[in-house]
């Protein structure tokens, strides 16, 4: 159970980040690329400084920086977002392969350890699962709740949603569309980097080429599952985390199910979940932000 939460945390960060980028009208399909960049640079920094917390921070920033390439292309230069996102993914996988060669199979020097929250950790069942974790997991709780508050209870949340739903109207209200989109795309990058860094610093503390193995794409799918709501993202992320750790436990217990079929589960399940979620989203008439993926030209009418 506790490992499900850890496995889910890898997905929770980038999912929330993408929810916010998408709410502002930016479809960044480069999550996989930003995650692998965060995973690699976070891992290297954690190893060089022998400090997992510094490593995590560096990984986050690396993801954020990577998102700025995407933001410049798609927001300032109005390039096609889908292709730019794919380019970012190819870039991230390429650059980490290029620099990562000598780090392959290196273990993280100093791992992060769990810190039990006094009081809360003693609650039966829930306590050990949710409140006897590492600092990054607590950080993800804060992020999820804080971002829900920002999105639905603050003025900047209203502005953000306005930009994603109707950029022209938002612009007329005096909100800077480009600045809003830049900011939330950058935040999305930071969180994607955080998810990647969590993977190599806590969950699997070593480096492998392409270690994110499609988790970025699962996060894109989870955004639909979460219906663009950070709180639902928690449920989605832990659900997938649970399936992931179940798969490892099954493999470790020496089941007769072929390992390839077990490894396929998360992707197959994500596909099914996306189909169902799309169905519900449509039935409830709560769709994606209306201007998702569309560039904003101020001069056009």
């Amino acid at each position: 159970m506790a490992s499900s939460v850890r496995s889910g945390t890898i997905l929770l960060f980038p999912t929330i980040g993408e929810i916010f980028a998408e709410r502002s009208g930016i479809l960044n399909l480069g999550i996989e690329g930003m995650m692998v960049i965060g995973a690699f640079f976070g891992f290297v920094a954690g190893n060089l400084t022998k400090n997992p917390y510094l490593g995590f921070t560096v990984g986050m920033l690396a993801g954020g920086l990577a998102s700025l390439i995407f933001a410049f292309i798609s927001i300032t230069l109005k390039g096609n977002q889908i292709v730019a996102g794919l380019a970012l993914t190819i870039f991230g996988l390429g650059i980490t392969n290029f620099y990562g060669q000598k780090w392959i199979n290196t273990k993280l020097a100093v791992p992060a350890h769990s810190v039990a929250i006094p009081g809360l950790a003693n609650i039966p069942v829930i306590g050990p699962v949710f409140f006897n974790q590492d600092v990054f997991v607590y950080f993800s709780y804060i992020v999820a709740i804080a971002f829900w508050v920002i999105l639905f209870r603050t003025k900047s949340g209203v502005y953000l949603r306005a930009v994603g739903e109707n950029a022209r109207a938002a612009d007329a209200m005096g909100i800077s569309v480009d600045r809003t989109r830049y900011f939330w795309t950058f935040v999305g990058g930071l969180l994607a980097g955080a998810g990647g860094a969590y993977l190599t610093i806590v969950y699997a503390p070593f480096w492998l080429d392409g270690i994110t193995s499609g988790r970025g794409w699962i996060a894109v799918a989870l955004v639909i599952f979460a219906m663009w709501n950070p709180l639902y993202a928690i449920i989605g992320a832990y659900l997938f985390g649970g399936i992931n750790s179940l798969q490892f436990q099954l493999q470790a217990s020496g089941t007769t199910i072929p390992s390839s079929l077990l490894s396929m589960q998360p992707y197959l399940l994500t596909l099914i979940v996306v189909i169902v979620a799309t169905f519900i989203v449509r039935a409830k008439h709560i769709g994606a932000p209306r201007e998702l993926g569309l560039p904003f030209f101020r001069e056009e009418r």
Partner: protein, 336 residues
């Protein structure tokens, strides 16, 4: 632009980027044999990108060429592994081509149907199907298809001679797949420029609502475009296992499925232009393998260069449609 970005990345490893680029160029075009290897790498890129641009033109974002390639390769391998040595080569290869086309097309059609019936985002569905295809291959390679003589490695029996595509040029690895690529490019060109389907395809891409009101059958057109793009990716997979690898294994270079997306985009979704871009990026791939072998420069640099070129192109598109006017803010010292 892309080369500069790649160069910066190389400088950080304390290697001279110019030396690396020179080595890539030599590796790609330096000799007849090197150039033939460039063409070998270009074959799958030509086939896949020809299909993808058709789908991209109507804004069906097929990112799943990777998986369609794998399924195509697997379907044709099934035939190759189940024929006798003495079978007619023409018959076996035709069946394999058909199997590759159908396998890839079916895999792409899944996403098309999900989109048409339930509005499931095709970027996500094609991508997830890539991983699913990979693990299906993994299952077969660790189970039914593993050759007992492979000492536990996930390799199949070698294909019989009748299931191998003939070599076109002596002493090279250029195989009949190149002809498939040329045919595919011409067919797609005609389809886009000369047929009603091509025209309708473009209208759907530009304005799906208008297309619907104009009586264009979006359902049918989407299915056809998705099917053709998947089919050609499957054919590329078939050509690779039958023409180059001569068996089925885990590593069948399915990454061409992602590179081909870059190819079709750099070729401005034009089949003829994509054909030549495929040869250039084929050179980058071939040169990339060369420098990995000889200079120990990781292959990832190829991805960095390709994606940087793509970034530059995407950013540059704005300047094709919009004029840039630099205006200086009025200053007090302005001359009257």
């Amino acid at each position: 632009m892309g080369l500069i970005a790649g160069g910066i990345a190389i400088i950080f490893t304390r290697t001279n980027p110019l030396t690396v680029y020179h080595a890539i160029l030599v590796g790609a075009f330096g000799s007849t044999y090197n150039f033939s290897e460039t063409l070998v790498a270009a074959i799958p890129l030509i086939l896949i990108s020809a299909g993808l641009l058709l789908a991209f033109k109507m804004k069906f974002w097929n990112i799943g060429a990777y998986g369609q390639y794998i399924i195509g390769a697997m379907c044709s391998s099934y035939i190759a592994l189940h024929v006798s040595q003495q079978s007619s080569s023409v018959l076996v290869l035709s069946l394999m081509v058909l199997a590759g086309l159908i396998g890839g097309a079916v895999w792409a059609t899944i996403s098309a149907l999900l989109k048409l019936f339930w509005e499931v985002n095709e970027v996500i569905s094609t991508l997830l199907l890539n991983y699913i295809a990979l693990y299906i291959l993994d299952f077969f390679m660790h189970g039914p298809w593993r050759d007992p003589a492979s000492h536990g490695f996930p390799l199949s029996k070698p294909f019989p001679a009748c299931a191998q595509l003939p070599i076109l040029l002596h002493r090279t690895r250029i195989h009949l797949g190149l002809v498939f690529g040329v045919i595919a490019t011409i067919v797609i060109y005609i389809l886009i420029k000369k047929t009603r389907f091509g025209y309708e395809n473009e209208v759907i891409g530009e304005n799906p609502t208008a297309a619907k009101y104009a009586g264009i059958n979006v359902f049918r057109n989407t299915l056809i475009a998705a099917g053709i793009s998947g089919g050609l990716a499957g054919l590329a997979g078939m050509a690779q296992v039958s023409g180059i690898i001569h068996m089925i294994q885990m590593e069948i270079n399915a990454d061409y499925g992602y590179t081909a997306i870059i190819v079709s985009w750099l070729g401005a979704l034009n089949p003829i232009a994509s054909f030549f871009v495929a040869i250039i990026l084929g050179g980058l791939e071939a040169g990339g393998y060369q420098i990995q072998m000889t200079m120990n420069v990781p292959f990832g640099i190829v991805g960095v260069i390709e994606s940087s070129i793509l970034f530059a192109l995407l950013g540059g598109e704005l300047f094709k449609t919009h004029k840039l006017v630099l205006r200086r803010k009025k200053s007090h010292r302005q001359i009257q």
